[in-house]
Amino acid sequence: MTRPISRRAALAGLGTAAASAGCLGRAENIAGRDPHSQLTLEINATPADSDPNGIRIARQLEEHLTAVGIDVRLNTVGQTDLWRKVLINQNFDLYVGQFVETEPFDPDALYGLAHSRFVAEPGWQNPFGLTEIAVDDLLERQRRVTGSARTDAVDALQETVCDLQPFSVVAFPDALTAVQENRFAGWTEDRQPVSVSGLLELDATSDAGSGDDGSTDGDNATGGDTTDGGTTDGDTTDGDTTDGDETAAGADADGGAGAVLRLVTTDDRITENWNPIAAEYRKHGTFTGLLYDPLVRADGESTVPWLAADWERVDETTVDVTLRDAQWHDGEPVTAGDVAFTYEFLRDTSMGSVETAVPTPRFRGRSSIVEGERVIDDATVRLSVPDVNETVAARALQVPILPEHVWSERTGAATIAGFEFDFETTEAIVSNNADPVGSGPLRFVEATAGESVVFERNPDHFLARSASEDDADASDETTGPRAGIPDRYHGKPAFDRLRIEVLPSDISAVESVAEGLADATVSNLGPESVPRIGRSADTRLVSGRSAAFYHVGYNARRGPLSNPRFRAVVARLIDKPAIVDDAFEGYAQAAASPLAASPDAVPDSLAWIDGTDPVHPFFDDGGSLDVEAARAALRDVGYRFDDEGRLLSRGQ
């Protein structure tokens, strides 16, 4: 066997060979072939300042992909730019990110994430470009059937999605949060503490009215520096209360009035954009979720009527929703017309004004359940939800309701300086929604882009309003203005203002809480910040398992990521237990299924046991990557390597 000649040498000799030998035909047959070159893949992630964990996953994957012979480009972009790249422009190979929902979610969440009907739409609907009939069928089926038939469908759906790996679930993080407990109490321990329900459940302590700017609290923190921090160390994620004897802060309390909940974050998006449907500006939609009320809210495993006073399944295909007496933040009443508008608008934000429908980039899976809407009277709307079960019908009611008188002005094609470009988007999607008008328990006050934003308690909201009414009304919880709302939300929120400040990194966020300048952190903390929390006596680590799983997303529109067998090998390059141990230092749970946080949703076949992935186990060789096994797996599914061990791919 002769030694292969490099392409450059071949080309150099080609001219002479062709001219002298006169065998142009054969030379052409060789030169006309495109050469193989090394496969290049780009991994996109946010920098450590934005999220200390995601980049660690990206780094491990980068090392392992490089080891098997792939040329990897590890690219860091800001959070907005990452989602713009992945969700809006779909211009990526792989990305590392977090799912949008923090509370355990219904399996129907996968409908929006993986159904092929959304393949051409930008947004959180099928960002992977997966087109699998088997997945579509199961997604449709779990919407239709009930009981054990639905359980079976959901099991089969998870198994199919895990086999096909449009994305690799890596781990469900513990939402590490540093909190000051001397002003607000009741931080949730079992779920993400800073969430819509978590913030509404907070109670003000007697000290809450003090220290608007927090300057008085600074002394406490320094005084407590030397006390133990042991209780929040290690893996006691429930973190027993470390209540010190707090005295100083209450000194200048002015009767509980003006209680400000002060949060710190590294994510500046909420200071410049309040559009609930702008996919690239929303992380979990916590604060827009407090500005805009949905008809119903998922509350643990139950569904609570929220803006809806009640809803009723009239027959197989319709749901009648009656509204509470509610107002928009600008004083206009919330009507059935607004609800009907919202569903039509989410289907097509242009409301028919441009040729092709422009659907919403968020809430698409949920809003797609509703196929028609009719206003019965001012407070009643009839939604057409053909052929879906109760659970899924209730999910349809979880989208934010938008005021028609504001958003109907934004249905035109988006323009820049009056010029219309072919962006196939509407003003509604690109608007930053300055001065947002919602109906939620918080309303917007002011913001400085990149620095801070202030919201205030909406005194006209049904949660707050009921608190001031007489006892007779309050006792009649079946018909009162807050009928059906669990007690713990009555009279909430417990703060008059909510101020969110942007800081450069998780370390400075934790320091700010430890020094008493803030009450809690919002954005993700790295495990390195945990010891800092322990050093301050008033500061406590609260963490609950978040459903917002970290995952590696693949762009199935691009070869070779379009090949599920290739994706399966890439999935096996992710050492999930090592990531949980090293990057998260144990503050996460590795998983195979995206539903691992949802109660009883994961079939035995996908359960995470014995510390290895049940479907795509890591190529483990005593704790490090078994490169030869990985290469053998790639050869098995049809890939080839050159003699320097580089994975070959045809013209990308």
Binding site: A48, I55, R73, T76, L503, S505, I507, E511, G526, E528
Partner: protein, 288 residues
């Protein structure tokens, strides 16, 4: 007091103390007295260059947020390229040399030493009978900022501490979180290419070498401090080696251009068109 103000106060106090010490030790009382008597004339001599520097600094402060948006949207995303080019060099630096003493030293140099390094030449060269060196150094500062800002806009990249947090510790912010309040006021984490810390420090060192006959005591101090700043940018995990190399290039380029723009013959008070040239050319640099 907010962390920002407390850090700012301590930086000002340190720099003021070091400036006094260096003025006495390097410039000497005799020259300082002479400078005081001629202060008005010398300042008048440099007014145009000072104006240029102020314009550049104000434009940089005002324009930075919008230029950052431009950079995010249209800039060349270079993180992957730089990381691919040099890999774990900065991680190696940290793994090989990091000790708590060095971390304390480099953190101090990065913030306090750097601020002193940049401010002392203004005093030292003002104390020279001819203002040409002062004007050159100020023009070089202006060029550094202007070209640096242009490059920040063209190139979007994150530093090593943001890309490989598993191997590179953000030593400065981990040991002195308050400092982050200061640096985030004047910089953002995607402005890494080139390293302006490097380029300005090397600019000062270059001038210190070129003027070694005037201030023989300043030259070794400046060279030592500026090399410390250069190493600190990488040791602390803030900059890539690539940023530092680009910083050197920017420094030498700026010094070269400053010598070309500022004519030594033109020295007298209220002089001719030489100053005019000094004003317009850095403006061209800002566009490039």
């Amino acid at each position: 007091m907010t962390p920002f103000l407390s850090v700012l106060t301590s930086v000002l106090a340190w720099v003021a103390a070091m400036l006094v010490a260096a003025s006495l030790g390097v410039i000497g009382p005799a020259r300082l007295r002479e400078t005081w008597s001629e202060l008005r004339d010398r300042l008048w001599d440099t007014r145009r260059v000072v104006a240029v520097l102020c314009v550049v600094l104000i434009a940089s402060a005002v324009g930075r947020p919008s230029l950052l948006d431009v950079s995010r949207l249209f800039g060349f995303q270079a993180t992957a390229l730089i990381y691919g080019l040099e890999g774990g060099f900065v991680a190696w630096v940290q793994a090989t040399f990091a000790t708590s003493e060095l971390t304390a030293y480099f953190s101090w140099v990065y913030v306090y030493g750097y601020a002193f390094l940049l401010s002392f030449p203004a005093i030292a060269y003002l104390a020279l009978p001819r203002t040409v060196t002062l004007r050159r150094v100020l023009v070089a500062y202006a060029l550094n900022y202007a070209i640096g800002l242009a490059l920040y806009t063209l190139v979007f990249a994150h530093g090593p501490r943001n890309v490989m947090p598993d191997m590179v510790t953000p030593l400065l912010f981990a040991t002195q979180p308050d400092v982050m309040a200061l640096t985030s006021e004047v910089n953002v984490n995607s402005n890494v290419f080139p390293s302006l810390h490097t380029s300005l420090a090397v600019t000062v060192a270059t001038f210190a070498v070129l003027t070694r006959e005037e201030y023989p005591r300043w030259t070794p101090v400046a060279v030592w401090l500026s090399l410390s700043v250069v190493v600190a940018t990488m040791y602390l995990g803030i900059h890539w080696l690539t940023d530092v190399v680009a910083g050197f290039a920017l420094a030498f380029g700026s010094v070269f251009l400053a010598y070309r723009f500022v004519d030594p013959r033109e020295n007298a008070v209220g002089s001719d068109d030489g100053g005019e040239q000094g004003r317009s050319d850095p403006g061209t640099g800002a566009d490039g």
